[in-house]
């Protein structure tokens, strides 16, 4: 049993290392910034992301409690963030033009659901 557990740990470690290596390689190739975002009753953290116009980011969303949603207001993105411990969701966003793009929880998650909002700010590259 102990030997089996040790082997499992080794394989988990190898898989994690491979995953990290793949992620680093993808980022290096695409130049896409990855932003980790936590969703919990009743806030996204961080709730404000600033990018430069033309920049593409990947937002990786993980819940710390129940299932939430991530919807970009006025956009075509509306995905489910799985419950705690059941994986993560990912969204790619490219700031094609300067502006403020609101996002919000789209899955009723409790009494303060309406407070779960945030914004992606796309700024001009010029100083």
């Amino acid at each position: 049993m102990v030997v089996l557990m040790a082997r499992v740990r080794v394989w988990v470690g190898v898989a994690a290392a491979l995953g990290l290596a793949v992620a680093v390689a993808v980022q290096a190739q695409t130049g896409r910034r990855v932003v980790s975002m936590k969703a919990e009753r009743f806030a996204f953290t961080p709730s404000e992301i600033t990018i430069a116009v033309g920049e593409e980011i990947e937002i990786r969303l993980k819940s710390d409690d129940t299932a939430h949603g991530f919807r970009i207001v006025g956009g075509d993105v509306d995905i489910r963030i799985p419950k705690r411990g059941q994986g993560e969701a990912s969204v790619r966003f490219k700031g094609d033009r300067v502006g403020r793009f609101a996002f919000e929880c789209s899955h009723l998650c409790g009494a303060g659901h309406s407070f779960m909002r945030g914004v992606i700010v796309v700024r001009d590259r010029r100083p």
């Binding site: 953290t45 709730s47 404000e48 710390d64 129940t66 419950k83 411990g85 059941q86 409790g110 407070f115």
Partner: protein, 367 residues
């Protein structure tokens, strides 16, 4: 907030390792029931809360949220036999990220738990004593106000609401009995309440709340100012969760209210002019983070003194100067289902009336 329509293709989405999640429409809710065995008393089993939440979007910027609660499973017209309560029913007018308007029946934004009270969100079968007799959760009232995010991790909400009914104040539960609950609430003056939260530090949430208004003894011409101030913090990192809260209630003219009620009913309510409560809680996830199942152990120390400062001429009822040590377990077979067990070791300052401790088991869920 600019809700600009995005050009096609500006944003792409994909899900990673997301299982087929349960589908919920516009109806959600939470429920809990529990068994309480108080020392020297028979055990009681109670289906405490059956709550349904509704939402509707008239437009992307005009939205309704409602919360209807049935307490103690059965309504007979008296609180002891159950209550049917409209805890929330408001419309949000979403104008900008920094400034939105809300009107209707709203939760008073005081404390950690009053706005975050779903059973899987807090440890312990019953809510903390401080969130019962100092901050009277669930505290809700009719009114209107504003809320928003200011950037940099700051967020706020502020409402104008109906005031309290001082005839309901008591030595045991402070201002709890003074909630008008939006039921033909008398409004000789308006109350102001607000909360500021800071989420700018990793894994930490800081909050501060205030409620300023008056308590009217509607059977008399008397009234008193009431001021509730509160501060709290929550920290969560890896397996560790910490939270703490301190709350104070000031009722400067409590003596006059006591006199008036004694004259009217012959019973002195012994209302204090100052109530003080605080608690600190530590919880640890025994099972590895990342598992959909969690087992959490926790301990909480509370101080809930509803007789903290008395008006001149009144002595405190020492049985209401309470301290509690609660320790227990929460098992999550799913993040939305909480099986709870705890023991509450309750003490007071009275040498005559002993505070009863209790063993509690409960099951609560959110969907």
């Amino acid at each position: 907030m600019t809700g600009a329509r995005l050009p096609a293709g500006i944003a792409l989405s994909l899900a990673i390792a997301a299982p087929a999640a349960a589908q919920t429409g516009s109806l959600s809710g939470y429920m809990d029931f529990h068994f309480n065995k108080v020392t020297r008393e028979d055990g009681v089993i109670d289906f405490h809360r059956f709550v349904l939440l509704f939402s509707h979007a008239f437009t992307p910027r005009i939205r309704f949220v409602g919360e209807l609660e049935l307490e103690h499973a059965f309504v007979e017209g008296q609180e002891e036999a159950g209550e049917l309560e409209l805890e929330q029913a408001y419309i949000d007018f979403l104008i900008a990220r920094r400034f939105n308007v809300r009107a209707g029946m709203v939760l008073v934004p005081v404390g950690i738990l009053n706005e975050r009270h779903e059973p899987p969100v807090f440890h312990g079968v019953e809510r903390p004593l401080v969130d019962t007799v100092i901050v009277p959760s669930t505290w809700f009232e009719v009114g209107a106000g504003v809320h928003g995010e200011l950037g940099g991790g700051w967020r706020y909400r502020a409402y104008v609401l109906a005031p309290l009914d001082a005839e309901g104040f008591s030595a045991d539960e402070g201002i709890r009995g003074g909630r008008q609950k939006g039921s033909a609430a008398a409004v000789p003056s308006a109350a102001l309440t607000g909360r500021v939260e800071y989420l700018g530090l990793r894994d930490l949430t800081l909050g501060g709340s205030v409620w300023l208004g008056r308590g009217h003894a509607f059977g008399t011409p008397l009234e008193t100012g009431v001021r509730v101030t509160e501060a709290d913090a929550r920290y969560s990192r890896d397996r560790l969760e910490l939270r703490g809260q301190v709350a104070h209630v000031a009722i400067p003219d409590a003596g006059e209210i006591n006199d008036a009620q004694t004259f009217q009913s012959g019973i002195d309510p012994n209302i204090a002019r100052g109530l003080l409560g605080f608690y600190a809680e530590a919880a640890y996830r025994v099972w590895a983070r990342g598992s959909p199942r969690d087992l959490v152990v926790f301990a909480r120390y509370e101080h809930a003194d509803t007789q903290h400062r008395m008006p001149a001429g009144w002595l405190p009822l020492e049985e209401f100067q309470r301290k509690a040590l609660t320790f227990g377990l929460t098992y999550f077979p799913d993040p939305d289902v909480a099986i709870k067990a705890d023991y509450v070791w309750l003490r007071n300052r009275s040498g005559i009336i002993r505070a009863p401790s209790s063993f509690n088991v409960g099951l609560g869920w959110w969907f």
